[in-house]
Symmetry: C2
Subunit: 535 residues, 2 copies
């Protein structure tokens, strides 16, 4: 069996070498893909829309990532393209709040962001996984530099108000201890021959060897205080140089305390496909991507345009809109086709003559709640006092999350951290408050984890997505049932209208969902245009 695999592999490798020698890298990648070396992805590179649209026009609703990807590619392919956008800026949920920015939420509360120069928060998406190839390619194409986003920081905290007397525990300690005890328990039953029914003796020997290394067990397969465990969970006194620099080992938590603390529930986040290393952020804020698209589409995007009705007939699509700043005067934009990227939460309130199936789909999907709060502090105390550089502290408090900035590490001066990323019921609770109260509460709660909060706090800003006028929610919260019933209906081209956006993807909330849904829909629309002729 091993021998067969080896031969198969050599053949495969030889084949790849031959392909590589006679063709270029792209060909090599295709070959690697089909041979199973590279993973299959729905993103196949920039779409080449072959064949001319012969003057066909497309009206795109929304200048978020989906709308701008569609506009960028369709214009490239020869379409006449115009985009209507509610906000005064490109990007949609791809958005960075910086000092000097102003934001008015539903209900009329206006916040003026007071962050110092260079500091920011991303109220919307803030992470780019390595496998979001569509988005990464556009970043490369539009020269948007990326830097690592630190998701898991072994020195950040896991915190449960009801465990360990409310004292936050370092991720490294909880992580090492949980893993260590799991390894010890399994090693013990293996030694007691309790796995004889499942594993051969040889496999058991491999398992024991692996558990010892993986779990930092001692020579008796126990997880106990000592050099091995301290080298995972940290030291009571760290090793240093010269005399009196000998390290002092730390004591593992008790297994019972660890299990009842529920802190283990925060251990797997960084193992999830979308949060694995290497994760990225855009240098200077995620909004740099939307801004870069906006520059490409200068003159194509009509800002401050609030869509009020969408109507299609056999000849084309007519969209009514008014100035979002001075409502009342209705204008009409027309085109042969329409790609609508307006979030379903808003689209469901706009008259549009599409099939009952699509209308049902549009109304069916609830939008997830989320609140993000950015807090500026006089100094980066999380780095200076606590050696926390980037990453996330997870807490049972309603703020759910504290995230430390993944930029300007080890720098002097002020910093902005994400003082809350609340979801679910906690998000609704924050949404119900005034912006000022949200910030006040975030400081109050965060102070339970970082006692420096109150002394160092300067100012904050809070975005509750259910009060964002352009989305009325954070992202489409598909359930399996809803998807089975409505997803395909939502994604069909209905006459001359097609939808795109994260809501029309299997990657809800992710920018890549917006990008790949746009690429999917323009490819299908283009086929239809070619089949039917321009008009």
């Amino acid at each position: 069996m091993q021998g067969e695999q080896s031969q198969l592999s050599m053949t495969r490798r030889d084949l790849l070498r031959l392909i590589g020698l006679s063709a270029g890298g792209a060909m090599m990648y295709q070959a690697m893909s089909s041979l199973g070396v590279a993973a299959d992805s729905p993103y196949k590179g920039t779409p080449v829309l072959q064949g001319t649209p012969r003057g066909a026009s497309v009206l795109i609703l929304g200048a978020g990532l989906a709308g701008m990807v569609a506009a960028y590619e369709l214009r490239q392919a020869g379409y006449k393209v115009q985009v209507l956008e509610y906000n005064a800026r490109p990007g949609g949920r791809n958005w960075t709040l910086r000092g000097g920015d102003t934001y008015t939420e539903l209900g009329g509360d206006t916040q003026h962001c007071q962050f110092d120069r260079g500091l920011y928060i991303n109220p919307g998406p803030w992470r780019i996984p390595y496998h979001h190839r569509g988005l990464l390619d556009y970043c490369k194409k539009l020269n948007v530099p990326l830097e690592p986003f630190v998701q898991v920081n072994h020195n950040a905290y896991l915190h449960n108000s009801d465990a360990f007397g409310g004292k936050p525990q370092r991720y490294r300690a909880v992580n090492a201890d949980y893993r260590g005890y799991v390894a010890e328990l399994l090693a013990k039953v293996t030694q007691q021959s309790k796995l004889d029914a499942q594993l051969t003796k040889d496999d058991q020997a491999q398992l024991l060897e692996s558990l010892q290394r993986w779990g930092a067990l001692d020579n008796h397969y126990a997880y106990v205080a000592g050099g091995r465990t301290s080298n995972r969970r940290g030291y009571d006194k760290e090793p240093g140089g010269g005399l009196s620099a000998k390290p002092i080992d730390s004591q593992p938590l008790q297994l019972h305390d660890l299990l009842t603390s529920k802190l283990w529930s925060g251990l797997a986040d960084g193992e999830n496909y979308e949060f694995q290393t290497t994760l990225f952020q855009a240098v200077g804020g995620m909004g740099r991507i939307g801004e870069a698209f906006g520059r490409q589409l200068q003159g194509v995007i009509h800002y401050n345009a609030k869509v009020t009705a969408i109507h299609q007939d056999d000849h084309g699509v007519a969209v009514s809109y008014e100035d979002a700043r001075r409502p009342g005067h209705v204008q009409t934009a027309r085109a042969d086709w329409c790609i609508c990227t307006i979030p379903l939460s808003i689209l469901s309130q706009i008259p549009m003559n599409v099939s009952a199936a699509m209308t049902d789909a549009i109304s069916a999907v609830p939008y997830a709640a989320s609140v993000k709060i950015g807090l500026q502090f006089k100094r980066r105390f999380w780095e200076e006092d606590e050696d926390i550089y980037g990453g996330i502290t997870a807490t049972s408090l309603p703020i759910n999350t504290i995230s430390y900035p993944s930029s300007d590490f080890n720098s002097k001066g002020k910093g902005v951290l994400l003082g809350a990323y609340a979801y679910g019921l906690d998000a609704y609770q924050f949404t119900a408050m005034s912006p000022e109260e949200r910030v006040r509460q975030a400081v109050e709660m965060g102070n339970q984890i970082h006692p420096q909060y109150k002394q160092e706090f300067e100012n904050g800003i809070a975005v509750a997505w259910h009060r964002a006028p352009f989305t009325l929610g954070c992202f489409a919260a598909w359930s399996d049932d809803l998807r089975a019933k409505h997803y395909d209906n939502l994604c069909q081209i209905d006459g001359r209208i097609a939808l795109a956006g994260e809501h029309a993807s299997y990657l809800p909330a992710w920018q890549e969902g917006a990008v790949t849904s746009a690429l999917d829909v323009i490819a299908r629309l283009h086929q239809r245009v070619l089949a039917r002729g321009a008009a």
Copy 2:
């Protein structure tokens, strides 16, 4: 018990708040430290050497980090300081090779680095852990910007020529599968009441719940193909947008194959204290730190000075040296005191009149072997073809390691990766080759993992530390026995001579070892100077 902890914690927090309100951040940190919130560290911030040295002079041997930290601080404290350095540059093993650099190793082989502008390798240290506070503080003080170093990349490979037909496996798959099977096996024995002797029923219930989440087990506590496991190990077809974007789940590896593959041995590296997130590198190459110190110490460091003898008497220290480029003409430098940071591998060959105990210590410690090879490629195929951004591939091949650059992510154009970081016997094997042959072999071996290697390779450079004239080895390879016998003897101040460097620390190979050993030794030396008077 829980209640007691809670009260204790509130008291502690209240206390911290009071301290924070009435004093500054540094005071708060000291309080946090003593209350156990922050870890104890041998590094206590920049040393303030109080009291005047009244004209005392110190001769420092070696302008590596230890020597330059000592020089920087002692000069600040009022000492007359001079430094003798063998190389023509500051930094020692803190060293970055860039295009245009030239390096001649023992035996006379000279390499001319041909990397394109902006590309580099660090032949020596390349990572800075978040808890190496001394080094981080100097980076801040000297304005050396840092960026994350990606150690664990879930999409890099684990590779064993003898497993899976030699086909490299993605870290994410091996990691998820190993963890999943461990969780499944332990869940099974828990359900079979085989842990009743160790755990209460309540704890067993918590354990089961935690294993399910942590191990991505299904509702029957099994680790099987499905959405949960694909969300860890990756998909056969990834989720996307629009129609036909439905993901296809991947199949876990077989437990037996996984155990016998030994690939699990690469899973714990990123959990070790020194490789945990957040790890850093200096922007532009680790050598930026040495270069920054060098600028601070302009005029203080005498380059190209090869030390040939060190002699002390009651009045001071006299050090003989010659020009490393034109040996023969011996000069003498004198001072009241000497801090010698020359690696033990070289110091053991230089006559020096210190105690027998120190002489024995100097001779006792072997130096570890290591070889690093940098390879320039026409394009960043690891990113473009394989979605690998930074991080490390571990392999059973003698190159041991391939490390992808943690900078300029997603950029166009060429790239340099670390094509080998060999240690132990593998390093000796590479050391025995000519530099050209080392590079050739690294390309040949790496091609087994990345079939693009041969087509894309442009040039390379190889540093074998046992042939580096200024160290004759990579770092002091202390064993527990050696340390018990010799370490304290090595670190004592012997008359007017004291040693510093990574070899005089509990952090061998790490820059922090050099920094903290220097800080430790100057504090002790200063006490002695104050006690004895200047001369």
